[in-house]
Amino acid sequence: MSARENPHRKTIIKSLAAVVAMFAFGFALVPLYDVFCELTGINGKTSGRYELGDTQLEVDETREVRVQFVTQNNENMPWEFRPTVAEIKVHPGELVQVDFFARNPTTKAMVAQAVPSLSPSQGIDYFHKTECFCFTQQRLEAKEEVLMPLIFVVDKALPADLKVLTLSYTLFDQVAAVAQQEEESLTLVAR
């Protein structure tokens, strides 16, 4: 450009700043969607471990809620994975345990992670898990099988119009991810 002041300098700088900002915004959307869904609770993701207070265990015998369990395997995950019961009726406030069956049919040890989702999403704030196999990764040796517990309580404040809650688990193969992590920690620690 010429030595004299370029009349378009300001416009160009502002435009380029907008371009850079929008490129960054595209990447910022990745965490932003999660944050937005968490704040508004519209994503169906259930929250983590719930600590029960003493008073909360009074059971509301006057009404019943049906809780259904659905499981599925992601992509080529070979494990057998199913709930031992498909549906149970619970009273709000009642502490309930349900077991999920998992079996590793392969000849290698494998690590898996179950990811929960609850439908309808309006029920998320009222479904509390005090213990869940989905809080940690599950490791099964070759041909090993296991019953994995889920302990939950449905909040007494559950809106009256919600009569059915469906809890869905998707099981992910974590072998590759774990191997990668171990490799990284190995190089870090240099054992």
């Binding site: 378009h8 490129f23 915004f25 595209g26 959307l29 992509e75 991810a177």
Partner: protein, 533 residues
Amino acid sequence: MSTVVDTNNNSHADDTHEHHGPAKGIARWLFTTNHKDIGSMYLWFSFAMFLIGGCMALTIRAELFQPGLQLIEPEFFNQMTTMHGLIMVFGAVMPAFVGLANWLIPMMVGAPDMALPRMNNWSFWILPFAFGLLLSTLFMDGGAPNFGWTFYAPLSTTYAPDTVTYFIFGVHMMGVSSIMGAINVIATILNMRAPGMTLMKMPLFVWTWLITAFLLIAVMPVLAGVVTMMLMDVHFGTSFFNAAGGGDPVLFQHIFWFFGHPEVYIMILPAFGVVSQIIPTFSRKPLFGYHSMVYAVASIAILSFIVWAHHMFTVGMPLVGELFFMYATMLIAVPTGVKVFNWITTMFRGSLTFETPMLFSVAFVILFTIGGFSGLMLAIAPSDFQYHDTYFVVAHFHYVLVPGAIFGIFAAVYYWLPKWCGNMYNEALGKWHFWLSFVGMNLAFFPMHFLGLAGMPRRIPDYALQFADFNSISSVGAFIFGATQLLFLYLVIKCIRSGEPATDQVWEGAEGLEWTIPSPAPYHTFTTPPEVK
């Protein structure tokens, strides 16, 4: 296209810059910084892409002429639908509008050239390389991208052919070109208007392009971001869209459509501007409701940022999300309705004549409105569950893009071609082009509404027998429309080479700075800014 003779009659003693015509030979086109040369190159490039993308569409329609697999393999069919979409959106429609912007914006605002002429040259010359990269994938092992023009991940990251990387770099390059073009348009419009040309005196084509340029700057970087994430998922082991690694497949659709919905307005707003120039001319009345037109375009642009998820009603969104995006989408009908009302009211009791640009513009208003209405049907979340991913969607977006964007471009070319090359085009041929395009296009796309409502899914090479009749009608229409474009090519070449000389004003009712300069437009115009009262 423009003459070599410099007819600039402005003399200025202190101007050290020597006036000159275009350079000779290929160098003129490689190194040119002239907005008219670059505009012509954009338009020719776009037309070449239009024909290539059109051949892909005809391959699709030939295969779908009857049920069963006749001509091509399903894998190749998928490549054709993908490439047709990408080429038409990024290679035909967008560069055509940038070409029109290059030719017209400086002449309309009384500027001597675009604000950043060297960057202008770059913006154009990136394009042939971007599309060379994209088209070369057709000849590679594994074939061209085959995941649909919306390239949903993880389909496009996990199961795509290796050529996906070429596709990603191609999109990056087109993005860079579009962003540079947009910055150029903004700088030209904001800084180089002739004295007295206030913002609210600008022709509507300039207004719509200013708003389009802002949309481009806002969303092309997001597109670049999303393909970059794809690149990292494919090659660098990240898991943006891979659920097994903690990513989110739906996230892709959210980010893509955050770009994608403003993108559809990028493709239609300049066409709004074009018909807003043409309809007053052939109605011999000023445009009805100029201010409301400007505000309507701005409202459409702003609303385009909060409606994206109406493309993904069926992903399992929460009810509150469905409702928000449904109502927000329906809201867009209001400013669009204002525009259609203003165009019709401009024609009302005008002394109308129907030269080819006017024919295309009137067809634009009618057919774009049909496309708008099917858009409203799709906007209604509960019924969208029936229409989603059917031919109804294909019918809808072809009704807004073909008689919308493409007819807008045709109208613009007919309207300004005499100004560009100094000769009138052959009106009889122009009318043939219009009527054949009109009939062919409606034959091709109207039956798709019925097919979609009856349940024919999109992006399939074969279909159930009950869809056969409408599909064969559709294919016949597509071939009529496609063949007609060769007539258009002949007409344009003929007009450039010969034809009745055009007057400076060209059209009896035409108003605006571009009609005050000689026809053909001299290589350099408005080296001294005109006074606008």
